[in-house]
């Protein structure tokens, strides 16, 4: 039988395997072949290890045959990791030259969760170097191309994971979201991307960019798959002190409740100038649809919205400047030898980091420096707590907050690379949730005239991924009905 699985959802693949209609090995081989044939064009993967994936798939098959396999709806389902997550024995490059030759010596928390759920890790996906970027153009391994339109960026920084799922190279993938790095590429590539609450998924083994903002988040083809994969991978990890010990609800079961008893807030600050017409129309259509369904819609205000980008780039870069200090040529990865220790540090880091990473390290170093700390970093932390308070206030009036994911659809390569500030503004709607630690989801709500996907974002209360998924599922079905 010639398999054709690329359009299937993760749960459908899981069901085929569970029913014995195909084996894990057949599924793995299908997707590995697809990665091999599509990757030269899309460049979604930095590495994939066919033999490791096949060995794993065969082992899953034999476990299943012997009746020892666990019951998991994702058993045998392929998944890809952004290449900033540790998978023992495989390279972890963070798309940076500075980690050349580095092989992971341990498994990330997310790796262990995926393996426990019976998934097959098919490869490591491309990203902006150290997850710094909004277009996936800052990769030492070349840019990722948007499968919808290869002349366009896939969004960043988890562009490889988003493109891989959108191109049917894997039904599921994980990215990391620091300021929008899961949601923006999900929007640009026309799939579902979720940033869980800070502490919902273990960060252990995720190479840190900005520790107080980083969250691992899944990509899926629809909300149902998202509910399943979140359920399988969320939860406390004793190796991550910032992960939270709270029970993980059965998100899949509660989806059917949709928006029942949930109110949606419309933040006026997210519907101002600078939004592309098609994007605005698509969101307006959704809001109109909800109104006609008599979903309660509430006008809300998030007054600190205008500070979010500035605060985000102070906090994120400050933490990054410290987190990236360990890449010094001493222990692993690249080393450029020099006459003195300090020269070796400088030569290694000068050669190993790309220009965007260097820019952010310098900005971050600056805002933490003696004499500037109070004016920048300390003040940013104060505003950050005001941003949190804004959301607390807003969530007294509503349960979910709706907005576009991005003011635009996928832009062309090179369009924003010369103007960092313009590039940073791609994140204008996505940075608030990380600053406040809140969960947010992006899912497709239409296309622009050139057929590029438009993403809709819902933000939810802290640790209320359940409502978020219910809302997304509700709107997804509403749009499918037309």
């Amino acid at each position: 039988m010639e398999l054709s699985l690329e359009k299937l959802k993760a749960r459908e693949i899981g069901a085929l395997i569970a029913a014995g209609d195909c084996t894990c090995a057949e599924v793995a081989e299908f997707f590995l072949n697809r990665i091999e044939s599509l990757n030269p064009k899309i460049n979604a993967f930095i590495s994939f290890d066919r033999s490791a994936a096949m060995t794993r798939a065969e082992r899953l098959d034999s476990l299943r045959k012997s009746g020892k396999s666990k019951l998991s709806p994702l058993y045998g389902v392929p998944v890809a990791f952004k290449d900033n997550m540790q998978l023992k024995g495989q390279p972890t490059t963070c798309a940076s030259k500075i980690l050349t030759g580095h092989i992971a010596v341990y498994d990330a928390g997310i790796t262990i969760k995926c393996l426990d759920a019976g998934m097959i890790i098919v490869g490591k996906t491309n990203l902006d170097e150290f997850a710094m970027g909004s277009s996936n153009e800052n990769s030492a391994y070349g840019p990722v191309r948007n499968p919808i339109d290869p002349s366009r960026v896939p969004g960043g920084s988890s562009g490889g994971s988003a493109a891989a799922v959108a191109a049917g190279m894997t039904p599921l993938a994980f990215g990391s979201d620091t300021g929008g790095s899961v949601r923006l590429p999900a929007a640009f590539c026309g799939i579902v991307g979720l940033r869980p609450s800070y502490g919902r998924i273990s960060r252990y083994g995720l190479v840190a960019f900005a520790s107080s903002l980083d969250q691992i988040g899944p990509f899926a083809l629809d909300t149902k798959d998202m509910a399943l994969v979140l359920k399988a991978t969320a939860g406390y990890d004793r190796f991550d002190s910032t992960s939270v010990n709270q029970p993980v609800p059965d998100y899949y079961v509660s989806l059917e409740q949709g928006l029942k008893n949930l109110r949606i807030g419309i933040p006026r600050e997210y519907f101002g100038e600078g939004i592309e017409k098609a994007v605005m129309e698509a969101i307006d259509d959704v809001i109109r649809g909800l109104r006609s369904e008599r979903i309660e819609l509430v006008d809300i205000s998030l007054p600190t919205t205008k500070y979010c980008i500035a605060i985000y780039y102070i906090v994120a870069n400050a933490e990054a400047s410290s987190n990236l200090a360990r890449y010094d040529g001493v222990k692993y990865g690249l080393r450029i030898d020099a006459d003195s220790l300090i020269d070796m540090f400088c030569a290694t880091r000068t050669s190993g980091f790309g220009s965007e990473v260097k820019r952010r390290i310098m900005l971050g170093t600056y805002v933490l420096s003696a004499g500037y700390y109070d004016a920048y970093y300390r003040r940013a932390l104060k505003v950050r707590s005001l941003i949190r308070a804004d959301f607390e206030e807003a969530f007294k009036k509503c349960d979910l907050i709706i907005s576009p994911t991005s003011p635009s659809t996928a832009f062309a390569f090179g369009e924003r690379t010369d103007d960092p500030l313009k590039m940073y503004l791609s994140d204008v709607f996505t940075v608030a949730a990380p600053l406040a630690g809140l969960p947010a989801i992006s899912f497709p709500c239409g296309t622009d005239p050139s057929g590029l996907p438009i993403g809709l974002q819902l933000m939810g209360r802290y640790f209320d991924e359940e409502s978020l998924l219910r809302g997304a599922y509700h709107i997804e079905r509403m749009l499918a009905r037309g």
Partner: protein, 479 residues
């Protein structure tokens, strides 16, 4: 030359003797082969995260409670950023704006009486690895075993007024951490480290002088020597009309001199900021109460107990409790000998003589064996004099006293008929002195005892000799 008064503050680091490191499960013990006690976390591999060792916090709180400081309900870990090969993350996790504790004091006994030295703060941090510079100068190796070992930093107020006070203060701190069982207090192994801030001012002046920082002192005496050296250096500068430049100096223990650190190494901007990978350290009153109730006995309490429980003179109790290990030794030995005062006497004379040369942990005589030895004296098995010989042998071999005595025929002679025979021989050999004694010159009794002991090579039980000699003279007198 003007007379100056030094103003000294000490900054000490104590390695906590927890089983595992501050933020990972690796062993925190000293002396493993290089890089044998490491894991991805303490090596700072990409993506790893710290998880706080609760025991380290508990140990630190013990010291705060023992010094009367305030444990803050919330303290915050911070990153201290700098580049060095033995610092694998490129930052040290420490505490900065919000330390674990502030305040408290340690009392030292100066010649002028007890003096309180105030503490500014006590905070938690992790140790760095160790750089080992190769002799050929071509390469540097790094041992990460020490990396992530828990440390507490203790900063004193500038209350110290002489190097001798500084030395006393350090000894007091060492005594305290030993008693609290939180640190081995060994400066040579680096488990206790000390930096100093020191300035001098004309005697009677109120204003502090410009201070310099002294680093790299690796022994208790080294601290005192370095401080003396620095006072002289600063005094020479002031006497010749110069001004003190604020700088950091490194003490060279071998050459007994200090050298300024290169300014490049000094000009750090550590860019401290709150550690986002750890939660705020919230310490509830109930936890503090729990630690309080399980605190080990402190030196003063133990001194009082020694007087009360063992009936020791205050002086003995003071000496015996000067270090926890000595006090432990005493209690273990006294438990066997069942004679606290005899045990104290032996420890304060014979054992202390040995400890002067080495450390108590390296003494081969176990306290149990010392107790056995004392029991043998008390039972009359050996004389006090022989016991000293046995003790000397125990120092060298660490053997049990019984084994030494049995192996060398040193056992005391308590055979009455044998001793009586010797006495008969001694008496009949010296009729003149016998006559003198019997006619009232009683002082000669000791002479006869000595003769008997000499005949037996000192092994005769002196009590028996006394008794039998008296009996023998009694018989002669009646005649």
């Amino acid at each position: 030359m003007a007379e100056y008064e030094p103003v000294i503050a000490l900054e000490m680091h104590a390695q906590l003797k927890t089983a595992s490191k501050m933020f990972c499960a690796c062993s925190a013990s000293y002396g493993g082969s290089p890089n044998s006690q490491v894991c991805p976390i303490c090596l700072g591999m990409p993506g790893t995260l710290p998880v706080l060792n609760k025991r380290a916090v508990e140990f630190a709180i013990r010291l705060v409670l023992a010094t009367g400081g305030t444990v803050h309900p919330r303290s915050i870990f911070a990153r201290k950023n700098y580049f060095y090969p033995d610092l694998p993350k490129g930052y040290q996790i420490s505490q900065y704006e919000f330390p674990l504790a502030t305040g408290g004091r340690i009392s030292i006994d100066t010649e002028a009486g007890p003096k309180d030295i105030g503490l500014i703060r006590i905070h938690l941090e992790e140790d760095a690895g160790k750089s080992i510079h190769q002799e050929n100068g071509e390469s540097t190796l790094v041992d990460f075993n020490r990396c992530g070992v828990p440390l507490i930093e203790i900063v004193s107020k500038p209350d110290l007024r002489s190097p001798a006070e500084g030395h006393l203060f350090l000894l007091k701190l060492k005594q305290l951490v030993e008693y609290l069982d939180i640190c081995t207090g060994n400066m040579e192994e680096g488990s206790l480290r000390c930096d100093a801030n020191i300035s001098i001012r004309p005697k009677g002046a109120e204003k502090f002088g410009t201070r310099c920082e002294l680093k790299n002192m690796n022994s208790f005496r080294g601290v005192e020597r370095a401080l003396n050296y620095e006072i002289e250096r600063q005094a020479r500068i002031l006497d010749s009309g110069g001004t003190i430049v604020q700088q950091t100096l490194l003490w060279d223990e071998k050459a007994n001199v200090s050298m300024p650190m290169r300014s490049k190494e000094e000009s750090h901007d550590y860019r401290y900021f709150p550690e986002p990978d750890l939660l705020y350290l919230d310490i509830g009153a109930d936890w503090i109460e729990q630690i309080k109730s399980s605190m080990p006995e402190l030196p003063l309490q133990r001194r009082l107990r020694f007087v009360e429980q063992y009936g020791l003179p205050a002086y003995d109790a003071d000496v015996l409790t000067s270090s926890r290990s000595l006090a432990d030794y005493f209690e273990a030995a006294a438990a066997v000998s069942a004679d606290p005062k005899l045990t104290s006497n032996w420890i304060m004379t014979e054992l202390m003589r040995e400890i002067k040369e080495t450390e108590i942990s390296k003494i081969k005589i176990t306290p149990e064996n010392l107790g056995e030895l004392l029991l043998m004296i008390k039972s009359g098995e050996i004389s006090g004099k022989i016991a000293k010989d046995v003790f000397a042998e125990m120092v060298v071999s660490g053997k049990q006293p019984k084994a030494i005595v049995a192996g060398s025929g040193l056992t005391q002679i308590s055979d009455e008929s044998y001793i009586a025979q010797i006495i008969d021989r001694v008496i009949s050999a010296d009729p003149d002195n016998v006559k003198k004694y019997l006619s009232g010159k009683e002082g000669l009794f000791g002479f006869f005892v000595g003769q008997v002991m000499k005949e037996t090579g000192g092994k005769a039980n002196p009590t028996l000799v006394n008794k039998l000699l008296k009996a023998a003279f009694g018989r002669l007198g009646k005649k």
